[in-house]
């Protein structure tokens, strides 16, 4: 091995070690920032090393690409609202996929054997479906397109045909790499498949989809690494792939559903059986809610996607401070699938300066729920639905939920009585100890703050 090559390869080893150590430091909130920094240094080392490659004779293309990409990336990172993080991550997944597709296609010129051709097909395929799938996910998250599940008759048949066509063109491509028709077919079909795979998945299932696409973007990089014979792409790509798969598993478990059920069933179309719910809805005014809250010594707040929509995280923090000043203990209960991506609520509350040791996971808050005086549900629905425990015919039966109904009093902040995304009735609203505080979450909390402060 000549010396430049040796230096490059050694730099990749250093870079891989930095990625791994960076991810290790991400295991605790106290060291996570340092971990991210280490990981970025690893990336810098890898890029500088790659630029040393003697094969590179023209730098203007690379410089142009880096300038354009760097400017867009930096602007996006500075400007994005924390409530829009799911959209941003979805878009970035897509860019990663597209980059791998392009690398795969560009590597075709140097491909010599069938193994390389197979890996080229894989990087194009995974990259392509990650790209369009992520664009659809982004559209659904940002409500650019409807966030509901799109189902039509014969959908499974159409998808199966697409998969068969992909397999056929992939095989033909490997057999006749000099015929560009098969290459275009693989590209076109993988782009189409990404669209078809994500349209039947509804908004509330987005945490699963984003995690899965995150994993795919890593696997696409991995396949591109095989195509251009590069170790660091394989190592980094598979780390990302593993991370996405783990998050996908956690999300599925938190919804008590299998991955195939999420991907193929279209949750939104489930029609629940008419179940008789006993009891009546008891609305409460802000003033009355204040009297109950003032006497509470232990309060639990359970946020959901509605808090993000109402941008209510800052007023929630204000409410928390006022309650603590009055001597109450305030905790947050975070369900794994609250929001539109893993950890969505935690980031929003961190933005509002809520310390992370106040954010309890579902399994930590549930045992304490019986000692809680007031549980405040803000914009969450399915994740606090007791039907998951009690009603066997419910589509969410078996899903682990936060048991707010064991608290002495439950306030549910809700815009209206329309049912949640899944269209499932929530018996919580009819329970003896539940009071409904109707209206915009931000305004309702603002009202409570005025009462408490005044």
């Amino acid at each position: 091995m000549e010396s430049t090559q040796l230096i490059i390869q050694l730099a990749y080893v250093v870079s891989a070690a930095l990625f791994i150590f960076g991810l290790k430091l991400l295991g605790s909130a106290a060291t996570a920032r340092k971990g991210n920094l280490l990981s970025s240094v690893g990336m810098l080392v890898a890029i500088v090393a790659a630029l040393l490659d003697k094969g590179i004779v023209e730098y203007q293309w690379i410089i142009a690409g880096v300038l354009v990409g760097g400017a867009i990336g930096a602007a996006a990172a500075r400007l994005v609202q924390m409530t829009s993080m799911p959209e941003m991550v979805a878009l970035f997944n897509g860019f990663g996929g597209m980059a791998s597709l392009l690398v795969g296609a560009a590597a075709l010129g140097t491909a010599t054997n069938t193994f390389t051709l197979v890996t080229i097909v894989l990087s194009i395929l995974i990259g392509g479906l990650t790209f369009t799938g992520s664009l659809i996910a982004w559209g659904k998250l940002s409500e650019t397109i409807g966030s509901g599940a799109v189902m039509f008759r014969g959908q499974q048949v159409v998808n199966s045909l697409i998969v068969l066509a992909i397999l056929a063109s992939a095989v033909m491509f490997c057999l006749q790499p000099e015929n560009p028709t098969w290459l275009y077919a693989v590209i076109g079909l993988s782009l189409l498949f990404g669209i078809m795979a994500v349209i039947p998945i509804g908004g509330a299932d987005m945490p699963v989809v984003i995690s899965l696409l995150n994993s795919y973007s890593g696997l696409a990089a991995c396949a591109a690494g095989f195509a251009v014979n590069n170790n660091i792409l394989i190592v980094a790509g598979s780390l990302v792939g593993a991370s996405g798969i783990i998050l996908t598993q956690i999300m599925c478990k938190a919804m008590n559903r299998s991955l195939s059920n999420v991907l193929f069933s279209g949750f939104g179309s489930v029609s629940s059986e008419e179940t008789e719910i006993e009891g009546e809805i008891k609305p409460i005014s802000v003033e009355d809610a204040y009297y109950v809250l003032e006497a509470a010594s232990s309060v639990a707040i359970i946020p959901g996607y509605g808090m993000a929509v109402a941008q209510a995280q800052h007023v929630v923090k204000e409410l928390t401070e006022l309650l603590e000043k009055k001597g109450a203990e305030v905790n947050f209960g975070i369900h794994p699938v609250a929001g539109r991506m893993p950890g969505h609520m935690n980031v929003l509350l961190a933005e509002a300066d809520v310390p992370y040791d106040q954010l309890l996971e579902m399994d930590d808050i549930n045992p304490r729920m019986e000692t809680v005086d007031v549980a405040i549900v803000i914009g969450a629905n399915d994740v606090v639905n007791p039907a998951a425990r009690e009603v066997e015919s419910s589509p969410i039966y078996g899903m682990p939920v936060i048991n707010v109904d064991s608290a002495r009093t439950v306030f549910v902040l809700k815009r209206s009585m329309a049912s949640g995304f899944a269209g499932i009735e929530n018996p919580l609203f009819y329970k003896e100890n539940t009071r409904m505080l109707f209206g915009d979450a931000k305004e309702s909390i603002g009202g409570l703050i005025r009462e408490l402060a005044g």
Binding site: I56, G70, G73, M88, G225, I234, L239, L247, P355, D357
Partner: protein, 93 residues
């Protein structure tokens, strides 16, 4: 042999990835994902070697496009992750 060697690396990194990521607390799952976004921008390394070979225009264009897209991931991913992680504070800290 090259293919076997690369597959070996793949296998080990996937297992290592599972071990590492399993230890990340739920609080940090969003920064984990955006950080993973940044790492998946590693494709930029493959892209630079293709963008600058000067062989033919198409490879240059594809390479430059890939460099741009992957750089968005790298720069955007690391910056936004840092921005998020800076907000995570301990009580009283």
């Amino acid at each position: 042999m090259e293919a076997v060697f690369l597959t070996f690396i793949l296998m080990l990194s996937i297992f290592l990835g599972f071990e590492l990521i399993n230890k990340v607390p739920a609080t940090l799952h969003t920064p984990l994902m955006s950080g993973a976004n940044a790492i998946s921008g590693i494709t930029v390394v493959g892209a630079v070697s293709l963008a600058g070979t000067g062989q033919h225009d198409l490879a240059n264009w594809l390479g430059a496009g890939a460099v741009a897209l992957a750089t968005i991931n790298v720069v955007g991913g690391y910056l936004v992750t840092d921005r998020m992680l800076a907000m995570f504070k301990k009580k009283g800290g």
